[in-house]
Symmetry: C2
Subunit: 224 residues, 2 copies
């Protein structure tokens, strides 16, 4: 059972996907897996980063906070996503905190084992390089958007992207408004107001707590 979980984990993750069955089985043996409930921490800022975390099922958020105590949500992890690149440097601390948003299962590999894997499996190193490259590009885009776009723009853009990612114009927000606010670098109050004004403008329809229907994608795209 545990072994199954571990293999699931390994097969699920893009960075391992192109590897041979033999490799995958070998990796699965190095993997430790655990289950967490919503609100639990996968890891916290300032603690020793000595394992790589791979999400098998569920969702988690990765946040960072300033001295002042305010928090920024950097990204949301879904099945197959991984984090903990502190592991790639020789010894370091987590600079972020990861919190379970739902009941979830994660697989972890120790720094030592992962480094050995990288050395012995050149294809894996290339896959990780790719994944990190994408992370850099995504983060650069996020930084730029944060700095130069208004909240309306960021929110509208988020809705369009999310609809696109899910593949339907009618969907449930994957995040509570409080988390969404942290993600977009604003407050829940402002999110509420902006969504209300989008609805008033006929761009979207809201129902229930989390349900959104995008009515006019083009209109959203040109929100100031």
């Amino acid at each position: 059972m545990h072994q199954h979980e571990a293999e699931d984990c390994v097969r699920l993750v893009p960075i391992f996907q192109t590897l041979s069955d033999a490799d995958i089985t070998a990796i699965a043996r190095l993997v430790r897996d655990q289950t967490l409930k919503a609100g639990d921490f996968l890891f916290t800022e300032g603690t020793l980063a000595d394992r790589l975390y791979i999400l098998a099922h569920g969702q988690a958020k990765v946040t960072q906070s300033t001295a002042a105590g305010r928090e920024q949500l950097l990204r949301v992890l879904g099945p197959g996503d991984f984090d903990g690149e502190g592991v790639l440097f020789t010894k370091g601390e987590h600079t972020t905190t990861a919190t379970a948003l739902t009941k979830l299962s994660v697989c972890t590999i120790s720094q030592h084992d992962f480094q050995a894997l990288l050395k012995n499996t050149p294809a894996l190193a290339l896959n990780v390089l790719n994944a990190l490259g994408r992370r850099v590009v995504a983060l650069e885009a996020k930084t730029t958007a944060q700095a130069v776009a208004s909240v309306s723009e960021r929110l509208a853009n988020y809705l369009v992207e999310t609809a696109g990612a899910i593949g339907r114009e009618s969907f449930d927000l994957p995040l509570k408004k409080k988390d969404l606010a942290q993600y977009l670098g604003t407050t829940p109050e402002t999110i509420s107001r902006k969504l209300a004004s989008f609805e008033a403008a006929g761009l979207i329809r809201q129902s229930g707590r989390q349900h959104i229907e995008v009515l006019d994608e083009d209109g959203l795209a040109l929100q100031d």
Copy 2:
């Protein structure tokens, strides 16, 4: 001469530094180098990313702009820094623009050659992984600061960090105020005002166009 430039380049760069002399000489042969003057572009957003850029001498800025035309300065490249990770993915476009801030020399390697190098030199892949990991951590911090800290905080923090990096409390800003404003996600006017108020508060002293002396690092650290 050119060969010398190329070897300089290769030896200068952290990602190549742990490699053998034989490797370095081999790599130097794959490298093309060129000289640019201030204001020239190394590469621009939207063009095909098919080379890796390594800065040998001088400085360059990496920026990204939105549809609205506003620009964000993401980072400043110094000697030994590299960019162009689009190269790591199979074919893609630059998502950023790099502009020379001074007269500078860069070395470049083609995507094809670099991918081959990565495959044949496992140690290199690990070095690149390390460098990218650091980039991710730095970007995450920048994103958080941008979203959560006031301009005063960001500017004060920048001054302290810069003084630290240079190793003296009295130094020249490495950036024009306009560029600094783009880097910190604000405007030159606001920079001017904040610096004036820091000076009035006895935290710093300004002289000439670019010269700053940090008088009270602790005071700066607790700017709201």
